[in-house]
Symmetry: C2
Subunit: 237 residues, 2 copies
DNA sequence: ACCTGAACACCGTTCAAGT
DNA sequence: ACCTGAACACCGTTCAAGT
């Protein structure tokens, strides 16, 4: 029997915490925050919990990020990097804009309530700047007045983020993604509208179906189409 | 000297806490929450602080409201009551819709970041139901397809709330309402855009002014006008 | 039904002290 | 520069006990 058989030896003390303790750093911290957002949403992110993933206390994070808000912004920037670049050679600006909008919307939906972080976020990442440049160029190239193009980009971003965030909130109001519960929730609202006195609220009562229809993707697409058509109408040839 | 001269008597003990201790109740609690929102914003509202205004502890509130979220919703409903009713006899639906939108936007701006509570809020108050009925009626009466009218109302509300919320957030990013600080903040962004390599980002660099112009009310109005025009274009006569 | 004190299980951030 | 334990000043919500 030699010392090389370590099977029944207690682990040496300096190896007790051997699990590959991840080292800190801006990106590692932001990535952990994004992981928590994906799993449980923004409210589940706390400095303590992020720090715990690195086997340390919350104070350690402050050497890398200014505060919690900055950490969440970094996590959002990571998510932005998932976006596919806008194709360079594309002439149909309306189709490009629609596809880009749907892509952003889908990305936001993949990350729980991350859309809440889109508000007042000024694009600074490389990828976002490039998308902005492309879409702006396509619009102006097609004859959209520059001021209209600039405002349209802002408003479009606002609409995409707001719709994604609202969609998440509605999802929260009936626990899980259970479609049965969703039906019960929206059905309850429908019944409420339908139960209003028809003499005082004829249009609401008479259009209950339309008011509840396609609360999700369909309504979003409708708004998108109408907005893009609105931009197109500003082109004077 | 009779007992009726109370000037030099110590206050009787049962009058020690005489200050007219406000009694609890759903509305009183919600009104206090709204007061705090107006003064310091939503994040300043805490169960403890609201309770303190009634000289009691946070547990007392739970006899009146389910939880903090419900309390904030009640506060928002109070703010909604400030809205002026949509005029009954009005034929120009586009003007009515524009005025109503601006009214809601202004109300939200009066209450700090209360716009954050507009997301996923289903109108239930008397006043809001009546506005919905009127605007819906005006649109449908003018020939807008019911489904378009219903979706448009949703999207319009989303846009109004999102813009107001984003406006508040931008206001936060430079401490107070100091226009000098605001100029420095937006000037910094402008300089950043202008400093990008012009060969890679020709459209951004070439349209810095348009990208920064009228970040506030002007851009909001533009989006509103375009959206209402979009609705109008769905009328087939 | 309404109200309360105390407790539970958390927060974000700062600070002095270490390396 | 980076990391840490401990502390500060808070949170929302629950619960047993009171009226």
């Amino acid at each position: 029997m030699t010392g090389s058989s370590a099977g029944d030896l207690p682990p040496p003390p300096y190896r007790a915490g051997e699990k590959p303790r991840r080292s800190l750093g801006r990106e590692a911290i932001a990535r952990e925050a994004l992981r928590i957002i994906d799993a449980e949403g923004i409210d589940a992110v706390s400095m303590r919990r992020v720090a715990a993933a690195f086997d340390t206390g919350p104070a350690s994070l402050y050497a890398h990020v200014k505060n919690k808000e900055a950490l969440l912004r970094l996590a959002f920037d990571l998510a932005l990097e998932e976006l596919e670049p806008v194709p360079v050679a594309a002439d149909d600006w309306q189709a490009v804009m629609l596809r880009w909008s749907l892509g952003v919307h889908e990305m936001l939906q993949r990350h729980n309530d991350i859309a809440k972080l889109t508000f007042a976020h000024i694009p600074s990442g490389e990828a976002m700047l490039e998308s902005t440049e492309r879409v702006l160029g396509l619009m102006i190239g097609a004859g959209v007045p520059p001021q209209v193009a600039a405002w349209s980009l802002d408003i479009l971003s606002l609409y995409i983020g707001a719709d994604a965030y609202e969609g998440w909130l509605f999802g929260q109001q009936f626990g899980t993604d259970d479609p049965v519960e969703a039906e019960a929730f929206f059905g309850g609202i429908k019944d409420y509208f339908a139960s209003l006195p028809a003499d005082r609220f004829p249009y609401i009562v008479g259009n209950v179906a339309a008011l509840m229809e396609g609360g999700g993707e369909e309504r979003f697409r409708f708004g998108l189409d109408m907005f893009i058509a609105g931009i197109a109408s500003t082109i004077t040839r």
